[in-house]
Amino acid sequence: MSALSKIGFCFCNKCFSIRVIAVCLLLCVCLPVKAIESTVIINNGVEKRQFSRTDIRNIFSARTQYWSDGAKITVYVLDAQTEAHKDFCREMLKMFPYQLERMWNQITYSGQGERPQTVATEAELIEAVKNTPGAIGYAYHTSALENVREVAIP
């Protein structure tokens, strides 16, 4: 009898199978759920072609509010409580949603700029970006994208 068996670990097939299933379930709980992959979208009229991650972060945190040609940037986002917004903050902006909210509040209430516009659904967001000159936003169902441009972030 092995030392493990002595302290109560049974190695019969049934018990072993139960343990394997339990470990798999545990891993499912512990491993992070795959993030919702989103892509940045912009209005077709925006001239800028190359974006760095810093550019995107500056735009979504309201630090950059105009395109280089002087056109106003209008940022669209989903509600802060949606998983899509949370994942966009984490994966694309590399910050937590509450940090973004703080930055918007600081900029807005000290008069330094305008916070993004919040819309209810992804379809509304895509529609708003499509119809608003200088607009930028994000989407996660990229197959539904029409008349907006996807932005590749290096």
């Binding site: 500056n58 105009y66 280089s68 409580q81 509040n105 600081q106 008069g111 700029g113």
Partner: protein
Amino acid sequence: MKFHTRWLLGISLLGGLQCFPASAESAFSWHGFLSQGVSQSVHSDFVSDNGDVSFNLTELGINMRYDVNASLAFVGQAVYLDGGNRFEQGGRLDYLYLDWRLPEFSNATLNVNVGRFKNPHWLYSATRDVPQTRATIILPQSLYFDNFRDVALGSDGVLLRYYHAAEEGSFRVNWSYGKSPMSTFQTKALLGEFAQGELEQDFAHQFSAYWQSASLSWQIGVSYLDSDFTYNPAAVDFYVAAEREVQLYTISVAYFAENWEFATELQRNHRIDQGGYAPDYMVNQQGEGGYVQLRYRIAPSYTVTTSYDMYISDREDRDGEVLEAMTGGMVPAYYGFEKTIAVGLQWDPAPHWRVQAEHHWVHGAGRLTSLPSSQNTPETKEHWRMWAMQVMYWF
């Protein structure tokens, strides 16, 4: 302004503005906030003279920004504030300035603000009167001394804001020069109830630099303030002409994790007073203070906060005994320091709504302006406490 009158004004303002929302791409934008709370300071006149439960915790504000073009904007905010004894009750033009943005170069921007601007030099200073931006209803008094709010909040002058962002982190530098108008309330807050003359701030010169890591986890900053004040006595006055020089040196650090965050600010001040009580009266002393604050999100809509705040008015008299001896026992030793432990809870029941509550246990009275004198016996005891609850809405 009566309680119901101020709220009718606030609700009318809100209703009127909501009827005319600015379009997404409009050059004009506006925002605001409304909040009402209840508070009490027990064994202290920090909130009210009699220690009763007070509804004098109202903060209303409306701001606007008009972008003339990509580089020029007019910005302003008006507020109505009532914090009981903590600061002057009434309306204020909080800020009104011209925001001139110079052309961007290499991911760096420079903004020049001319007019009445808000000081961006400490972690909370730019939005300390905006309730939803604060971790606690009553901020740590070592740095954010309520009685001195209006002078500390902003200046009439010029502010330069430099911001450089890169993949490895961002860097922010602020420089400002200006002065604040001093009200009778501010004069008495600094010099006591019996000051009859006029106090002027000659200038306030400030500088701050902040670095934030690429992950935005760390924010580290230093700041410096240099300011002079002059007191011009009235024909019949308790005080003679006086001057005060103040320098503040501050270090600010914040760390942000997914569910918790830590912030601390440490400050040392150097103060030289000449005149006032007598033409040859002079005080040259250094004080210090600071706070540590921990916030934890226990659920998406709930955040708990705890903090420890400490202020010493004279580093060489940390327990205030020299102060008590110098005043012949008139000013108790505990007016030389103030140490506070606070706990608070924030609940966000819906977007743009927050309910906040907190309790503070305080040892000392070093951050109260109701100094004891031969004709004034304040209510504050050595150990006192206060609590506050506030509901806020912003748009």
